[in-house]
Amino acid sequence: MTAFSLLIRGGQIVDPTGRRRADVGIVDGTIDAVEATLDPADAEVVIDAADAVIASGFVDLCARVGEPGNEAAETVESAAIGAALGGFTTIHASPDTQPFIDDPSVVRDVQRLAAGAAISVRATGAITKGCAGIDLAPMREMAALGVSLFSDAGRYIGESGVMRRAFEYTNGAEVTLMLHPEAADLCGPGIMHEGECSSRMGVPGRSAVAEEIGVGRDLALARLSGAAVHFQRVSTAGALKLISEAKAAGMAVSCDVSSHHLDLTDALCCDYDTNTRLSPPLRPIDHVMALGAGVIDGTIDAIVSDHCPVVPEAKEMPFDLAPTGSLSFETAFAAVWTALDVGIEDLLTLLSWQPAKIARLGPTHDGKIAKGRAADLVVLDLGETWQVSGQTMVSPSHNSILEGRTLTGRVRHTISDGNPVVVDNLAYL
């Protein structure tokens, strides 16, 4: 009988306390020992982390897993494997499934589907029924089942009265409301950023100001209600500035950014490639740079994958009719690591430690690699380069906005609940 079920050898640990070279011994789902050298004979399974970074696994606050309802594009099973390949050990499924996750029965259904998944797949509950922005969904009932994040799946809650009630109703509950800040009434039929590119391309645009309007309104309502607020997928410099000012004034505000918006601009849309259509849309370079600065100065609290699988037939529609979204699980970390000039600690803060806090995963997920913490870990090769190919990804969909790009940074191993679900960049079911 060995001491450890799993031993990770030879790696460099990076966690909120700093960096150190150490081996990690795991017993079932918990880290049991972290020491300079542990004896491999003491472990049932040994995996090698030489020249690699060991960190707590990434936590995704916004992803679409397809199931229930859109299984042709993705299932909980394939989503979990794709996420594991990208270094995620916890993902949160967006509530715009069919049916919407706006009822405890659907939460239970999702939890059942997730029970056998490679990593932890948690449900995000809807704020309003059907994410329609009219009637509040039974958020407290869903919270009782363990749901900690709520959103209306990328839809702006247009009725200010409804938004206020949502804040007031959940105030004091252990939940986070994640809001899409882009005011839809200003955007109209817009399908990409309103600016030079949309104008040349002859497509209706969505002004960056719409996001400022949404953030401004929701900050005021949160202040009025005394509630905390989290803004999802901020994409503009103006909105980021309002959030930064609110934080400086002491408000309980947090925000996240999608990996794509730290890297890509709206110029990418000029060929009418439907894989470049995202929501919120890609923005020009000055916004991308502002978001990059927000990562460094701490205004941004988390990076999300915004994984969104779409079947090939749907992406072959005309540019204005094709659904938005790109695959992202398997590329999110590498995309940001390649695009931004930041230290690995900063990146891990935004991909792992802080999103775990926002998602209220608890003290076992505080990011520290120490005895008693959950064995949800990722081992990263920071220098390895590879080429993106949508066809080789595990998803049934292939819509990657980064198709053909060369990225630096690769997941070597992913350990979920003590199980090595990805070893040497291959998934083990």
Binding site: S199, R200, G202, V203, G205, Y272, P318, F319, D320
Partner: protein, 351 residues
């Protein structure tokens, strides 16, 4: 006494393949497709306009037909209604002796753009050398280039708000013709001040006109209420010409060498971009009163069909000598013949 350009009847027994000198067949500078004027570039635009002169001449013959595209098939694939442009392309193809196929896909049978790819691949299987595509979604012709065979050309007959290259070309040609008699080898609109009046924001004609006019060196002023103007005009020009916004039509009119009118689509009235058609007409329409401010030597164009009573008062244009609308239509056929010839044709010696 043989002339270099003979009037040859189109008859299989008379014309031998050997008669056609393929070695002197020019090809469109920009490549296999005609999708947008920015891709065509100033050199390609000049090439097309110069060739249009030849086809204007062909169209004036007693038998306006040449065998250049014999055996080729041109398919007009229109996902959006259009009688004029479709007819114009079909006429152009037929005058070059091509076979034509015509598919009008109404919005009910291809709902939400589901089957663009299927439609293209099905028709392609019947043997097509060129598609002329019109669609209400910008970018569709570019997407279609990914689905056609290696040898097939795609011509943009108008995509959404974005591009209508042959319209831009025929408008530019008409202006050169009105000013200089023809395009010649070096068509130019340098120093010409052109006012483009109306709904620029939603107009593929406007975008292509700006490209074509500026490629020839003109100075374009976009005139209309800001709700009908695009959010940005950066990158709209090609070549040496300039483009700017202008809002006061009355003060601008006397300075315009060309008054290029655009249609106001009735759908826009429903979108509340302008308070009413009457208000639009009183501020931006060519009313009888406003016609007095248009110079007598100015040229007046309109892409058609005209909304009489909206962008122009009912009979106003019948009284100005500079109205060239019917020439635009005739030149449209010639420009499209030039485009098809440069993409698919054989032998300038048989023109």
């Amino acid at each position: 006494m043989s002339s270099p350009v003979e009037l040859r009847p189109v008859d299989e027994r008379v014309i031998d393949a050997a008669d056609i000198d393929e070695s002197d067949t020019p090809r469109l500078i920009s490549g296999r497709h005609l999708l947008g004027l920015d891709e065509l570039g100033p050199a390609g635009i000049q090439q097309l306009l110069s060739y249009t002169d030849r086809f204007v001449e062909v169209n004036q013959r007693a038998i306006p037909k040449v065998p250049a595209l014999r055996g080729k098939t041109v398919c007009t694939l229109f996902f959006e209604d259009s009688t004029r442009t479709k007819l114009s392309f079909e006429t152009a193809a037929k005058r070059l002796s091509a076979d034509t196929m015509s598919f009008s896909v109404s919005s009910s049978s291809v709902s939400k753009g589901e089957s663009v790819r299927d439609t293209v691949e099905t028709i392609q299987a019947m043997g097509v050398d060129a598609f002329v595509v019109r669609h209400k979604s910008s970018g569709v012709p570019w997407q279609i280039t990914k689905w056609v065979d290696a040898g097939t050309s795609v011509i943009n007959g108008g995509d959404g708000w974005h591009s209508h290259p042959t319209q831009g070309l025929l408008d530019a040609y008409t202006l050169c013709q009105a000013r200089d008699g023809s395009a010649g080898d070096d068509p130019s609109l340098v120093g010409v001040r052109i006012g483009l009046i109306g709904d620029v924001k939603h107009s593929r004609v406007a975008r292509s006109d700006v490209q074509a006019f500026t490629a020839l060196g003109a100075n374009v002023v976009l005139i209309g209420p800001q709700t009908l103007m695009p959010p940005s005009i950066a990158g709209w020009t090609i070549g040496q010409g300039t483009v700017e916004f202008g809002h006061d039509l009355d003060s601008l009119l006397p300075s315009l060498d060309v008054v290029a009118l655009l249609r106001i689509q009735t759908e826009r009235l429903g979108e509340s971009l302008i308070p009413s058609a009457r208000e639009y007409t009183s501020c931006y329409g060519i009313t009888a009163k406003r016609l007095g401010r248009v110079r007598s030597d100015a040229i007046i164009t309109h892409p058609g069909p005209m909304n009489r009573g909206v962008e122009v008062a009912v009979d106003v244009l019948d009284h100005h000598p500079g109205v060239v609308i019917t020439k635009q239509v005739a030149n449209g056929v010639a420009v499209r013949m030039a485009a098809l010839f440069l993409l698919l044709g054989s032998g300038t010696n048989i023109l």
